[in-house]
Structures are given as C-alpha cells and as structure tokens.
C-alpha cells in the first residue's frame, strides 16, 4: 500500500520525532510512504483566528498538492478536523467548481493516523513495546470532530509492556485552542491547571495523545512545574519496539 505523509507545519518545525516515528511505524507495517516536499500548512491557525481568506488559500494549496495522491496520512487530529469540518465551507464559498470537485474526491482518502491503522490497514497490534505507565488524553478534535472513539485505546491495548492509566474527565479540553492560548492566556492556563491535576493524578510516566498541540500545552506546564511527567505522541509509542527503544526526549 502507498500513502503520503502530511506532517503538518508545527510537527515539521517542532516535533520531527513524531514524523520519524510515523515513517518507522508505517514502513514496518509494509506501507510505501511518500512525502511531498512542498507541503506547508492546512490553514487551521488562520481559519480559527478569523482569517478566512488566508485559510482558503492554504486549503486550495493543500488540495492541489494532494489531489493525485492515493492516500494521505496525518498524525494530527485537529488538522484532519480542519480539512473535514472547515474545508467544505471555505471551498464551497470561495472556490470554483473544479476545486470543489477535486476536494470532494480527495476528502475520503484523507486519514488521521489511528484511522489509517485501524480502518485502512486493519491492524491493532503493530508490534510495539513500551514498558511504561501511560495515560491517554482524548483531544477535543479527535473525540468530537473525528469521532475516533476506541481506536486509540485498541492500539494502546496491544502495546506490550504498556500499563494504561485511565484519565478522569478524559474528553475535557486542555485549554490550548491555538491562538486562544495566548489571546486568553489566563483562562487557558486555568483550564490547563485543572487538566494537569487529572493527568498527574493518574500516576503515569507519560501522557499520550494524537495531537502534538495539546501535548505541547501539557508538556509546557509539566516542565515549568517539575511535574515529573512527560508527553509523547501515540505514533512514537507505536513505533517503539524491543529492538528500537524510544528516545522520548520531550
């Protein structure tokens, strides 16, 4: 099977280890992975900040870049949610017929990572080994926009050595919300404080998720407060095997 990786702008810049993990994981599962060097951003930051015109031009760029691609994999649920929930409106309003047609054809071929593994590849046991206590944060977009449901849990359940700790109030927002985290920094921090209490109370060593944006927010507070925990993208857990232990430097 062939697939093309859309790494997303912030993973490319800040979290390349997530991308490397996706490559390692998918190639181990027999996927022929491709990477389009001209990719940049899905437009979510502009769309959520009220810059519709700018968001549209990035949406158009992404559709044009991937319109001939068999399958696109994205290790970020909020970017997939942007494409599924906001592109139809943006392209419907500002695009022409040809773009609308190409987007409609591309949309069903775009997968979030856990969707790709379970729905497209049909695997739950990816052969991972991660001997740590881990809690899973169900990010807002994963739960309420993509309806990922139990997919991440099914993947985690098959990781050897992993001790999964249940996170109370699992689907409550961590307070990141993109530019919300700086526009409403104090409210965002109050939300983060409440979330972190739940996360730390699990006694886990790692908090994982399918969105590095939430994890960047959580890890920022963990580091500031010497909370004694780390964050790690689910792809990095799934990529880890006995032969190649995780670096988990975050």
């Amino acid at each position: 099977m062939r697939a093309s990786l859309f790494i997303t702008c912030y993973n490319d810049t800040l979290f390349p280890e997530t991308g490397k993990a996706v490559v390692s994981l998918l190639e181990r599962l027999g996927v022929q992975l491709d990477f389009h060097p001209k990719q940049t951003c899905c437009g979510q930051m502009h769309a959520n900040s009220g810059f519709r015109g700018e968001a549209y031009s990035q949406a158009k760029r992404l559709v044009r870049l991937y319109q001939d691609t068999e399958t696109v994999v994205i290790p970020s649920s909020s970017c997939v949610a942007m494409i599924r929930d906001q592109y139809p409106g943006l392209i419907g309003e500002l695009g022409n017929d040809s773009l609308r047609k190409d987007f409609a054809a591309l949309l069903p071929r775009i997968y979030e990572l856990s969707e790709f593994l379970i729905d497209r590849l049909g695997v739950e046991d990816v052969g991972a080994y991660f001997p740590h206590r881990v809690t899973y944060h169900a990010s807002c977009h994963g739960v309420r926009a993509l309806h990922l449901g139990d997919r991440p849990y099914r993947l985690l359940a098959k990781v050897r050595g992993l001790d999964l700790a249940t996170l109370p109030n699992v689907d409550r927002c961590c307070g990141f919300g993109g530019t919300f985290s700086v526009k409403n920094a104090e409210v965002s921090s109050a939300m983060l404080a409440v979330k972190l209490q739940d996360v730390v109370a699990t006694g886990a060593e790692y908090c994982t998720a399918l969105d590095n944006s939430c994890l960047m927010h959580l890890s920022g507070a963990m580091h500031r407060q010497y909370a004694g925990m780390k964050t790690i993208h689910l792809a990095e857990i799934l990529a880890t095997t006995e032969a190649s232990p995780a670096e988990a430097a975050r």
């Binding site: 990477f35 009220g50 810059f51 919300g177 409403n184 920022g220 580091h223």
Partner: protein, 494 residues
C-alpha cells in the same frame, strides 16, 4: 455609584471590559471558582444520567432542531398567526423593535394599571433589556419571585447563568444575604430553613401585588398560547393570582404547533436541569374570566433578532431554547463563570448571541472566548453548531479590525499575515524555519527549553515553558535519508 460599579460585574456589552480582562478577578477568586465548578458538575452529572436513559436522544435532538429551524424559516407567518390567535383569546400583542421600545410599552401598561409594585417570574429577556432598573427609576417596586433571582436581588448581585442565575453563590452566602436583608438573625444555612425564609418573604407579595411580568419559554402559533416551565411554583403563583400579566418574549420563541411541545419539553427539561419533566409546566391562552389574569399582554421583542435571522450561518443562534447545557459543558465557563462574558447571556451561546444582538458593534472579544473544543455543540438539544458560528463571527471581527492601520503593528495580525506569506511557498517557509531556529537560540536555556519569550510569546511563557526547536526539521531529515532500500527498519516491508 462608583462603589457599585467597582463591586458589580458589568453585564452590559456596551460597557463591559473585554473577556480576557473581565475573567481575571474570577480566576483569582477560589470561592467563586469552587462554587461554579461544583454547581456545574452536579447539573452535568444529572443531565448525563437522564440523557443516557433516552435511547432515542439523538432522534429527539434532530426533531427539536428541525422544529426550531422550520419555525425560524417561517417566523413572520407564525408570529402573525400567534398574534391573531392570542388576540382572539382576549390577549393584547405588542411589537417592540428594540429594548427602549419594549421598556416603554411595559411602563405604559403599568401606568394605565396604576401599578406601584410588580412581581416577576425569572426572565432573562427582561434582564437583556435592563427592565428592573428602569422600572425602579420610574417608581415601580420590582419583586423577583424565583429563589435564585431573590438571592441576586437582595444580595445586589448579577446573574451568572441563564437557568441557575445564582450558581456562583453558595449556601452560606445565601444565608448571609437573607439574614441581612430579611432581618433574620438566627437563620441557619440548612436548605429547608433558607427556602422557608424565602417562602415567608414571597407569600405576602403573591397575595397583595396584582401585576406580574413573565418571560416565555415558548409561544404557540397554532393556539396563541404561552408556555412557561419552572421548578419552584413561583411562576404558577404569578400566572394565576394577579389581575394583570405582562409576558415579554423574544420573537424567536414561537413554535408552530401545540404538538411540538412534546419534543421541546422533553429536551428542555433534560438538558437544562437534568429532570425528566419540569416540576411546573404552565400553559395559558389569552384570558379566561374567573381563571387567572383579566388583562394579558404579550410584548414581542426584536432587539437585533431579525438581523440575525437574515444571515444563513448565524440564523441557527436563534434556535436556542435557553437550556444552558452549552455553558454547563463548557470548559471555559467552568473556570470563569458567567460574569466575565459581560452579558446576561454567558457561556458559548452568549459568546455568539451577545455580539450579534449588538449588531457586532460590541462584545467583540466574545467570539474568541472559546478553545473551539466542541463540547457545546455536542450537548446542544437543538443542534446549534456553536463553533461554526464562533468562527463566522471571528472572521467578521477580523474583517472589521484589519482595516485599522494600527493593526499593521499588532503582533498577532502581523504574525498571521507573515505566516500566510510563508505557507504559500515551501522555500520561504523553510527559510523562516531556518532563521527561526537561529533566533530562538537566544531564548533557549541550557536545559533545551524556552522559559521566557517577548511580545505575544510572553503570553505563552507566563505560565508554560516551550521546548526549544530541534536541530533538524522533519523535511530536512526526510531529505537526508538514504534512498531505498532504506535502513534496517525497512527490512520487514521488503
């Protein structure tokens, strides 16, 4: 006056400070945050339990949404039908284009009745038009009869929630207010003692004041009737004892048929208070001699609503049935409570309704007072896609603001404009990544983390660290990989 302004939150979008600023005193107030979070958690748990027992909840939501959407699409016709039926049944219908007109209509009715006192059922619409202070200024004594509203009125507090307006006040604070204002020295904070005190206070009012003001949960076009649901029976007293009843209702409150209540009352009670049915459901049509008020007036309030109705994305805002499930589910509201929203309508619905009611002239920080987590949309019984409307309003605010020259130097605007240029060309984006990696080194400590950033970045680092930029971006790593057949990790694939 200055003292009052200092001690009261300002629930007028025209004068209220922006949301991030208005939220600060609450975030620093442990008692308030504890009260709000506790109350919300209790209501949320009750709602979740009662929603779970309805196996057809999603179908109910779809029906409720369709009923409300249909009513709005044909609003003019249904309002006229309501007017005709209500008038035929002995009621008088008044049309008010805005708040001043609605207040004048109500004042004129009260003057004709020579009313010096008036009892009220909880109505957020009357708070929207700031009715109480105007009536008081005109020499009419206003007595709230809903327990929470009594607490607010006697405690000189402002509502912080649309269903449980005194949610930010706990039992011992209620005891203090009642004890002070009712002269009850030995009052305990036992709920029975507190409700008994309120009952004593109210009974006299119900028996002596012949004029009442209510809101409406629903107006029924088919019958010309009005529906009010409540939990305490105070509404039933106000609707039956007085000689004159004035009902103030937003024009969007109309339902086509009596039968629609079957769906609406189910979703409203479960969403609002976590009950299968509201304890008191009052329905009345016009005037019935010997039974209830002899004079019945309905004031239909526009106040910005028809302008909302004309816009396709925003129109859904008017489907709202004021159940408050969105604010109970909102992680932002859970931290800030209602006052920070600077409006009688707080929470996610307030964040979309308030700026629109002011024709987008005020409350422009509210569409940004959300992390877009979607919890509001998930629970909304009439399926208002609040995140979608928030985004639409954000883009309207930006379209207004970006014309200002001063925004050229606003770091947020500048950053987003530059980012847009970079994202259009990969080579520019990659150059910016390279330069950013060098620049960020000046802020990165030896531990590899950024503890302090200037400008907008400082809003992040005031409470959070940020990991320093890695030495290599992903696309650089990809380009540096040896061509296939790749390293050991490719073996199984081959």
């Amino acid at each position: 006056m200055t003292q009052a302004a200092a001690s009261h939150p300002i629930l007028d979008p025209v004068f209220a400070p922006p949301f991030p600023q208005a939220a600060l005193p609450v975030l620093r107030n442990p008692q308030l945050r504890k009260n709000v979070a506790h109350a919300i958690d209790v209501i949320q748990a009750k709602r979740a339990k009662l929603v779970a027992e309805k196996t057809d909840w999603q179908e109910l939501r779809s029906s409720a949404s369709a009923i409300r959407a249909h009513a709005l699409e044909n609003l003019g016709a249904y309002l006229e039908e309501f007017e005709t039926r209500c008038t035929a049944a002995g009621g008088t219908v008044h049309w008010a284009a805005d708040a001043p007109e609605a207040r004048q209509i109500i004042l004129d009715i009260l003057r004709r009745e020579n009313a010096t006192d008036v009892i009220k059922i909880k109505t957020m619409t009357s708070a929207e038009i700031q009715l109480n202070p105007i009536l008081e200024a005109a020499g009419v004594n206003v007595f709230e009869t809903d327990l929470a509203e009594i607490i607010l009125q006697l405690g000189e507090e402002e509502p912080s929630h649309i269903v449980v307006p005194a949610l930010h006040i706990n039992r011992s604070q209620v005891r203090e207010i009642f004890s002070r204002r009712m002269g009850l020295k030995d009052l305990s904070d036992d709920p029975h003692a507190l409700t008994a005190a309120a009952r004593n206070y109210l009974r006299q009012k119900f028996l002596t004041i012949p004029t009442a003001i209510s809101g409406a949960n629903f107006l029924i076009a088919e019958t010309g009737g009005v529906a009010v649901v409540e939990s305490e029976g105070n509404g039933r007293m106000c609707l039956t004892l007085p000689r004159t009843m004035i009902t103030l209702a937003g024009i969007e409150k109309v339902l086509p048929r009596f039968q629609d209540l079957e769906v609406m009352l189910q979703v409203l009670a479960r969403s609002a208070t976590g009950e299968r049915m509201n304890p008191y459901n009052s329905l009345w049509t016009g005037v019935t001699p010997g039974d209830g008020p002899l004079n019945f007036h309905v004031v239909l309030l526009d106040n910005g609503r028809s302008s909302i109705l004309s816009k396709p994305t925003e129109r859904q805002t008017l489907k709202c049935i004021r159940c408050a499930a969105c604010m109970n589910a909102c992680p932002v509201y859970r931290q800030t409570g209602g006052h920070a929203y600077g409006s009688v309508y707080p929470g996610p619905i307030g964040a979309i309704l308030t700026p629109q009611l002011t024709q987008m002239r005020h409350a422009q920080s509210l569409p940004f007072a959300s992390s877009l987590c979607g919890a509001c949309y998930e629970v909304c019984p009439v399926k208002i896609n609040i995140p979608e409307v928030l985004l639409e309003l954000r883009s309207q605010v930006v379209n207004q603001e970006r014309k200002d020259l001063v925004r050229l130097f606003d770091p947020m605007y500048l950053g987003l404009r530059i980012a847009n240029l970079l994202f259009a060309r990969a080579w520019l984006f990659h150059t910016a990544q390279f330069l950013g990696r060098i620049g960020i080194r000046f802020f990165t400590r030896k531990d590899g983390w950024i503890h302090s950033l200037p400008s907008v970045g400082g809003k992040w680092t005031q409470t959070r660290d940020l990991r320093g930029f890695p030495k290599q971006t992903f696309h650089e790593w990809w380009a540096s990989r040896p061509p296939a057949p790749g390293p050991a990790l490719n073996k199984e694939a081959k």
